[in-house]
């Protein structure tokens, strides 16, 4: 059995409870024991790192130092923002000795940072440490028939200098995981486009415009639903969808799943346990596609000329 340190972040204990819940279900199935960092604190996302650089590093650093007290060598984080802050702090601490010296003093009561623990997003942990093969093995009720648009948002693979995982522009790791679950990942150009989350409260119109474009392109791709691995992505695309539909006079009806919800379903957990009731856009229309056969476009038959040429060779 694998062991991994878990940093849930504030949203997992609030708005994205269903993410936290399904992560735990999935990890249990995959024989991974999760050990939550005792007495973890805020990662400093959004407010701290726009206001005060030292604080923006000091807050995540305390979590990194606490994580080193556990015996695991990897930490996994479901929230993309938390992941981003912790990973950025780790990279800067590891590679900028001047900064490391300065920030280390902030956590002096907790011990000092060694850089022993790898920081990975939930997506990265599933893709790299668990692997597609292990995931595929646990699938008992594949979600085949579903066409899905995987939306990574801005933080899971960006900036590349920090995340060092997958492509910053056209990542494929989530696509490959949902395919391992039996679903079809649709080619989707807006998988890393901005959803406007930072303006969620201050300028909602921007969010409607940007998230609207993502929904439009997801619909265009032929997807039945969107898959995310970030609480903020989920809330923006799900919660704002009715407002977007109202503003642009369109109908998208695209449920927004957490990746782990679909994994848990494919691993055989009943859908009643997924807390789908928390979703604004009902998920049933998308789930109804499970079991459908997706017709692949026919591959072009070899032209007459090519066949002739081959026979000539013989």
């Amino acid at each position: 059995m694998k062991k991994v340190t878990y940093f849930p972040g504030c949203s997992a204990h609030g708005t994205s409870e269903e993410f936290d819940l399904t992560v735990k279900m999935v990890m249990k199935t995959l024989d991974v024991e999760m050990e939550e960092i005792p007495d973890w604190n805020c990662c400093g996302a959004t407010s701290a790192h726009t206001m005060n650089e030292s604080l923006a590093y000091a807050l995540p650093l305390r979590n990194l130092v606490l994580a080193e007290k556990l015996s695991n060598d990897t930490m996994t984080i479901p929230c993309a923002s938390c992941y981003q802050r912790l990973k950025a702090t780790k990279v800067h601490m590891d590679e900028d000795p001047e900064l490391a010296k300065k920030i280390n003093t902030a956590v002096v009561g907790e011990g000092s940072y060694e850089g022993r623990v790898a920081v990975k997003s939930m997506l990265q942990y599933c893709y790299e440490d668990i692997g597609l093969e292990a995931i595929r093995e646990k699938v008992t009720s594949p979600v085949s028939g579903m066409k899905l648009a995987c939306y990574y948002g801005c933080l899971l693979t960006r900036p590349k200098a920090i995340t060092r995982f997958d492509s910053p522009e056209y990542p494929m790791s989530m696509d490959k995981i949902v395919e391992a679950l039996g679903a079809k990942a649709m080619p989707f150009d807006f998988k890393t486009e901005c959803c406007g989350a930072s303006f969620s409260i201050s300028d909602t119109d921007v969010v409607l415009q940007l998230s609207g474009k993502i929904l439009e392109m997801a619909k265009e791709s032929g997807a039945h639903a969107i898959v995310v691995a970030c609480p903020l992505c989920q809330s923006n695309l799900d919660m704002r969808q009715h407002d977007i539909e109202k503003k642009y006079k369109v109908k998208y009806d695209l449920p927004v799943f957490y990746l782990t919800q679909l994994m848990a379903m494919a691993f055989g957990f009943p859908k009643e346990k997924m807390m789908f009731g928390k979703h604004i856009i009902p998920v049933d229309s998308a789930l109804a596609h499970i079991g459908e056969v997706i017709e692949e476009p026919k591959k072009p038959v070899k032209g007459k000329k090519a066949v002739q040429a081959e026979s000539e060779v013989e």
């Binding site: 492509s167 910053p168 522009e169 056209y170 080619p187 150009d189 807006f190 486009e193 392109m217 265009e220 040429a309 081959e310 000539e312 060779v313 013989e314």
Partner: protein, 657 residues
């Protein structure tokens, strides 16, 4: 008693601002042997040189010290001044008080002045022990090797050959012509590339002084300027060029289809092929990687149909040697692979092509008969977006330089698109329009006015597919807003990079190259054609991105350099070379091992006067020796002496400080 003259240069402000020149002169005057010392603003100028010439006569000087810039800069200039005054030029010493003092000690004028004084004292002491030396003559092999048969190589070969100097032109592909043969029309006059190039190609093939070796590569170069030996590997063509008439039956019958490099892979060629109909030589070769017979031993259709029996499947690669005196490198360019632009979907969308692919499409002899099409569905595009600086000027993607020609050929592409598809419109995203050249700005204006091409200043941030269209999202920097263009086709003006084998070639030639693989010129301004290795010259995009006029000019400059090199029957060479004193040489051969130029061999000499027994001593080839002094340093018995840097000279220098 030695009579030394010291001449201290201000070098404008370069030296005078940081070294107190009059003090240096006063210090020099204190030296016993110095009979004359003076300063001047520009010692290298004619009045400066005249001061030297006059002083030599007036003060009966026996050696000269010039305290100025690096000897690499003006040693030759001052040596000439000495010989003009009737003095042996090697009685000159240069004290480098610019690079070695004023430039590097700008914060401490006092110390810089002291150091300059020391350098002058050393040079004076050394010059006292200078001996009269005389230039060495080395025989020259009057044949040039041109590597690369694009327009640069063609022009260089023709110009050299026109001076009745034999040229060996080596081309890696089956035909000469290079990139220019792939172009449709050329800026800024829109004359047809083939029409101006193919006659030159024919001239190369028929020129009595040019030996054309196609489908070959240079694999070794030994020797030194004027006396190189090159090994050339002729790749097996499996076709006997002597009997082949180029009738074309073989490639019509060949059943194997391979992506056509000449057409940038848009259509297919056969496994036996000539790159294009106007190829020179117009003889096919068999592509061994794809030929069914060579891979599996089956087929052989070409051999069956060849009336002349020219197909020879047993042909092997052949290595030939040529003795040559000079080399012109003209290996050309490649387009950078834009795959790192993931935000553009390069590689995912068929309808994003690069500029050479577009060039082939609009070319009259191209795979689409001169009509641009969308690779995805073969439809003629109405809205075409051109994106400039893809890769170029983009540090994040790894290339910092400007590719120089993209602004011009993109303007040309806009015009060509308009000529081929009248109801089309070009949108051009650009960073700056760099149209410096004769008639270039006018040409860009023409593209804008005549074709209605929309120039949008800004970068493209994303390309995505919406239905059949490619949505190109970018910035219109002049209006300060985001724009989206619904495009049928997107053409990327990707960066110009040197051919991928350039570093390997540079290593085998012994010349240097930069981090991108461009071959380095000897001086970026004053010696843009030469390399640091004597007798090797650069033409065209192998040195930096260039358009056709610049390439041709540089190629002709190469030819002038080669002709100059071959002007006499022998070549003059500096006498600063090593000599072995056989009396002292123990034959240990340490020097043979350290010599970086393979200039030292061994010879057998009688053990004593009239003795029959022999012993081994080192022997230095004066043509090859570059005077680096490595052998002097390792010689245990102090048997080797480097002229111009003898032990008394060096010891004098040390004693002086």
């Amino acid at each position: 008693m030695a009579r030394v003259g010291v001449f201290v240069c201000f070098c404008g402000a370069n030296i005078a601002d940081f070294v107190d020149v009059p003090t240096v002169v006063e210090e020099a005057k204190k030296i016993r042997e110095v009979k004359f010392a003076v300063d001047y603003k520009y010692m290298c100028s004619d009045p400066g040189q005249q001061m030297i010439r006059d002083a030599i006569v007036q003060y009966r000087l026996t050696s000269i010290v010039v305290a100025a810039c690096s000897p690499r800069m003006h040693e030759k200039t001052f040596r000439k001044a000495l010989s003009d005054a009737g003095m042996n030029p090697y009685l000159l010493e240069v004290a480098n008080i610019r690079e070695h003092s004023s430039w590097v000690h700008q914060k401490d004028k006092k110390a810089a002045t002291e150091k300059a004084g020391d350098l002058v004292r050393m040079a004076v002491a050394k010059s006292i022990a200078n001996e009269q030396l005389h230039e060495i003559s080395v025989p020259v092999t009057k044949r040039a090797l041109v590597i690369g048969g694009g327009i640069a190589g063609i022009q260089a070969a023709l110009d050299i050959a026109d001076a009745h100097i034999p040229v060996t032109l080596v081309e890696r592909s089956p035909s000469i012509g290079g990139r220019m043969a792939q172009l449709d029309e050329t800026f800024p006059t829109l004359d047809c590339s083939q029409c101006i190039l193919t006659p030159k190609m024919v001239d190369v093939a028929s020129h009595p002084y040019i030996e054309l070796i196609p489908y070959s590569e240079v694999i070794e170069l030994n020797g030194y300027v004027g006396n190189y030996k090159a090994k050339i590997r002729k790749k097996a063509s499996y076709v006997n060029f002597k009997t082949c008439t180029g009738c074309g039956t073989c490639w019509q019958k060949c059943p194997v289809k391979v992506p056509n490099e000449y057409n940038m892979g848009i259509d297919k060629r056969k496994a036996i092929y000539t790159p294009f109909p106007q190829a020179v030589p117009n003889k096919p070769v068999i592509d061994a990687e794809h030929c069914t017979y060579l891979l599996k031993g089956k087929c052989g259709i070409c051999a069956k149909f060849c009336e002349k029996g020219s197909i020879d499947f047993k042909m092997q690669d052949e290595v030939i040697e040529r003795e040559i005196g000079a080399v012109v490198v003209a290996t050309g360019y490649d387009l950078w692979d834009a795959t790192p632009y993931e935000e553009y979907g390069v590689g995912r969308y068929k309808d994003i092509i690069n500029s050479l692919e577009f060039e082939r499409m609009v070319s009259a002899n191209g795979p689409t008969g001169g009509l641009p099409i969308r690779p995805s569905d073969g439809k003629v595009p109405k809205t075409v977006v051109f994106i400039k600086c893809v890769g170029s000027r983009d540090k994040a993607k790894g290339i910092e330089f400007c590719s120089k020609i993209c602004c011009m050929y993109t303007a040309k592409h806009a015009i060509l698109l308009h000529h081929k598809v009248h109801d089309s419109r070009a949108y051009i995203f650009y960073m700056d329009i760099r149209a410096a050249g004769k008639g270039y700005e006018e040409f860009v204006n023409r593209a804008q006015v005549e074709t209605g091409a929309v120039y949008l200043r800004g970068r493209v941030s994303k390309i995505y597919q919406k239905g059949e269209k490619l949505m190109v999202r970018g910035e219109d920097g002049q209006l300060g807003r985001e724009v989206e263009v619904e495009a049928d086709l997107v053409v990327l003006a990707t960066a110009i990079i040197p051919y991928k084998t350039n570093p390997a070639l540079a290593q085998l030639l012994g010349i240097s190259y930069d981090k991108y693989g461009y071959l380095s010129e000897a001086h970026p301004k004053l010696r843009p054609v030469e390399t640091a290795k004597a007798g090797i010259f650069l033409a065209g995009c192998t040195q930096a991105p260039k358009d056709i006029p610049d390439t041709v000019a540089q190629a002709s400059a190469c030819a002038a350099k080669v002709c100059g090199l071959f002007a006499g029957d022998t070549m003059k060479k500096d006498p600063m070379i090593s000599t072995v004193n056989n009396e002292f040489c123990s034959g240990c051969q340490n020097c043979v091992q350290v010599c970086p130029y393979q200039a030292i061999v061994t010879e057998e000499i009688p053990l004593g006067h009239g003795a029959r027994e022999m012993r081994t001593v080192a022997k230095i080839n004066e043509g090859v020796c570059q005077g680096c002094g490595s052998c002097v340093a390792v010689c245990r018995s102090m048997a080797i002496n480097l002229a111009g840097f003898t032990d008394p000279q060096i010891i004098n220098e040390i004693v002086a400080i």
